[in-house]
Amino acid sequence: MKRYVVLSILVLSFLTMLFSGMKISVTKAAPDTGKSVEHETDLSTDLLSVVLIENGEETEDELLSDLADLDTMELGLTYKEEIAAKNDGDYDEYVRAVVRKYFTDEEGKETTDVDLDYIVLVPADDSNWKINRKESTAERTVYYLLSPLDAGETSGLLFKGLRIDPAVKDEYKIDIDETETGKTYTYTYRYDGLDVNVEIEMQSVQCAKGKSELNQAAILSVWGVENVKVSGDDLSIE
């Protein structure tokens, strides 16, 4: 009988832990990592947090706020756009940035068949952020901060500016209208009137210093990447 009591306590403990975990897991949606994370269970976000820093200020939702009043971007001019991540939580964390750039037309629709290399996010001179080519495309680039970001700390700059490659003006067609007084040349530029769009998502996962095996499992589980390796506490990209 005593044996049943002990076993029953153990079973009840298990069920309590199991159900408490499930209850918490459905209150927080998993981050969009572009890969399946159905097996992931987020327990809480209260103690782990990352914020996006733009030109020294925390920002939510809105980006390029300093450029909001521009009628147009000048070609070749680098506009200040200093981007970093800040750990405003209580735990150390690994951070990655998912960056999207694209053009939209006057109706706000994303344009296709355009060269996105004309939108240049100027990297910082001495950056500890590194691109994971295996996750990146012309439109979407994934950057990893190679060292964990300690609680309360702000990372080095990911970008220092935004610029439009002047070569964007070289894509045009000419219509020539001949009149009695001469010729009128009308240039129609491929990228004229489009909007330049930038989206940045900062993602973080908890770092338990000195536990590289656990950290490796966390990165694989949350971000679904296999070529980002934990060595010591730092990351490397294969």
Binding site: E74, Y191, L194, A217
Partner: protein, 173 residues
Amino acid sequence: MKKTMNKVTKIIACLALLACTFLVCEKTGITGAYFSDHTEAKGSVPLILSYKTELKEIDDEGNKNIGIKNTGEIDVIVRVRLFGVDALPEGTVSYEYDEDLWVLEDDGYWYYKKILPAGEQTEAGLKVIVDPDKAPEEDFEITVVVETERVVYETETTLVKPDGWTYVPEGGN
């Protein structure tokens, strides 16, 4: 009865084993549950590439006072060339201009020394004065050609020199 009890015992034992495994995993950190967070922001800026300028030529008692207005939405740089002057007797044509605004380069073009912002006109025109005493009696024609290029920055304070141009103003926003 004893057989049923054994079965219950086995089930409870299995659950207990699972509970222990969970506890061990939790303590050693081998678990599928990790803290994570994310935040995102986005923004956009317009890009305008087309531009328009108008020649504002004022006929001032037979002289030409050349001004240019930027009627487009982007900043431009300007240069002007006059054709037909070389065919006239020497000294027929002279120029009156503000040296801070216009410069004649060796390629024969007059360059406006400032960026011409969208919606604005050259601060002072390039005045072409014809001396009637030296001008030929027969009709002659001076043709004004205005060329504009959109501003392209090389650095924050310098502009890219368009092909064929020998002068560009200083930049700076």
